[in-house]
Symmetry: C2
Subunit: 340 residues, 2 copies
């Protein structure tokens, strides 16, 4: 039996929702992760300093075991003053959604250049800009590549001092885009984009629990993402985008986008890295690269993974996880406090 | 107010299922169509002469108003003798499914060359081979184009006297393939492939009632299909592939493929043809080209369409139709017996 020990990891892209759903999902992340970057697309959104403080309190009441890293949603109304106050309240990043691309993004941005003063304030405050990189006007499979060409190139050119994370990349084009930039840009990669292609969504029967934004793409895109995640390249790091929806919001005539991976993320990642013989690079992806990009200290302690098969439950509190009722080859043994 | 009169149409690709579901859906087709080619992928399949007779009787009991044109399912077990007996029982075509590509195709074909004697018997009997043209081993969006290259070219080369219909084409590649063949091949086009792209399935919220095989593809594919359907080219004709599933089989963790269009087919087609200014070619597509390809007499009588908006119901007997709760610009006024 093989064991793997990695420094306690960070999840640099996490949805925990609100209320009852928040209380159901937060413990899954708290069990395995030291910190998680909390997405602000709640209803109403986390858009200013007061909301940041209230939301952090709500998360902490659900579990004191991990540290929520707070963000604000960058909308057309986000002023430099809002940014500075949010930074004082502890927000370390702002999340930018193009209008209409995913869950609760109707208040997203269409004219990115009007946000130049906001981006300048973020750079000045050392805040990171997290971008959902899809162009809502493009054909669904082209949205990421079109956004890179039409919008993100412009943003990074106009704001050279802003640190930018392209979130949940889904294409070989995005991997190449990141690799071709010299500094200041990184990318998160989810667990589900390492596992799924569009064949797993619409290739056989329709699988709403595999439906997410950005869509899982072609097999060659998945391979490019695995290559990036396991490369050790410090610009690529874990952001699960674990996004819980109640079962009936997924199995619906208008089904929500999002894959719930918090309970299975680490075991599944160990399996993916083991399958390509790269377990020695797992820690960089889960526990080092992201913290360094954000300028955060590395976590103390470690988690131990063991290659022991376990069967993923059909659901957790009415939320169907990725790989429900399937077998995962690795599991988290539990946290072990070590000096680091 | 505009009126359109077309010869009573034929639907050269229709699923009516069995039992209660059959009795619910058959009247919708019988209202608007003179004949329909009935797909044989029931459980168990319609695979021999006896099954053809029983299934036709069941359909006729549900409505005597239209003529079901019968088919058999061509499986690895379909012998030349089976073909000849089915022809005597009235089957005019055999439907070929590659293994595993769609609803009830687990008994489909993998080795097409072993069917050469069967194909020869079909050609000899004047039966048409109807093909679900997708390669199950290819990525979902490539399956049609790969099937044309790897399999269908071989079938039409090996059996030059066999008349072949490529069913429910979904790509510009298939349109080009048909146009480049000289004789003996045709293609059906569905209503939903003239309306939908993949954006309508997975581009916004997930839409299980738009999920079908072959998948709706890119915008440029849809435009190529509209161009083919409205071209007057006699090799392209209507096959709705109207495929009813109960709502809970679509809004499900493993949702079935198929779009139910029987009640809205003609009105929607009139709208599509009107939008491109080609209503004078509607009759060729719905009522002439297919009958000529199959060597059938043209139907007597006509249906009249009027450009009057109507709202499609949310469901018909628990089956959600295409364009549910949306407005269609044309409706069928009813059949009018005329001499032809």
């Amino acid at each position: 039996m093989d064991f793997l020990q990695v420094r306690r990891p960070d999840d640099f892209h996490l949805h925990v929702r609100q209320g009852e759903l928040l209380r159901a999902v937060v413990p899954h992340t708290a069990n395995d992760f030291a910190r998680a970057l909390i997405m602000p697309n709640t209803t109403p959104p986390i858009a200013d300093a007061d909301a940041v403080r209230r939301y952090r309190d709500e998360i902490n009441r659900a579990s004191g075991k991990f540290e929520p890293l707070m963000t604000i949603k960058v909308t057309p109304e986000t002023s430099p003053g809002t940014v500075r106050a949010a930074r004082v309240a502890g927000a370390i990043a702002g999340k930018l959604y193009p209008e209409g691309v995913t869950t609760n993004s109707a208040d997203g941005v269409r004219d990115f250049r009007q946000l130049s003063p906001t981006f300048a304030a973020m750079a000045d405050e050392g805040m990171v800009l997290c971008v959902h990189g899809e162009d809502p006007d493009a054909f669904c499979l082209d949205r990421e590549a079109v956004f890179l060409d039409r919008t993100l190139n412009q943003i990074v050119t106009d704001a050279p001092d802003l640190r930018v994370v392209l979130e949940h990349i889904s294409t070989a084009a995005a991997v190449d885009w990141i690799r071709n930039k010299q500094t200041g840009v990184g990318a998160t990669i989810t667990v589900h984009h390492l596992l799924l292609t569009l064949d797993d969504v619409v290739g056989d029967l329709l699988k709403p629990h595999h439906f997410c934004k950005p869509l899982a793409k072609r097999p060659e895109d998945r391979l490019a993402l695995i290559d990036a995640a396991t490369s050790g390249d410090e610009r690529f790091f874990l952001g699960t985008d674990s996004a819980p929806h109640p079962r009936n919001a997924k199995e619906h005539a208008s089904g929500c986008a999002g894959v719930f991976t918090a309970p299975i993320a680490l075991g599944t990642l160990a399996q993916v890295f083991a399958e390509v013989g790269m377990t020695d690079r797992l820690e960089a992806f889960t526990s080092v690269n992201g913290a360094r990009f954000y300028g955060l200290p590395l976590n103390d302690g470690s988690v131990t993974l063991v290659n022991e098969e376990w069967r993923v439950p059909a659901e957790y509190d009415d939320i169907v996880p990725l790989l429900a009722q399937r077998t995962v080859g690795w599991k988290v043994l539990g946290d072990t406090a070590i000096n680091s």
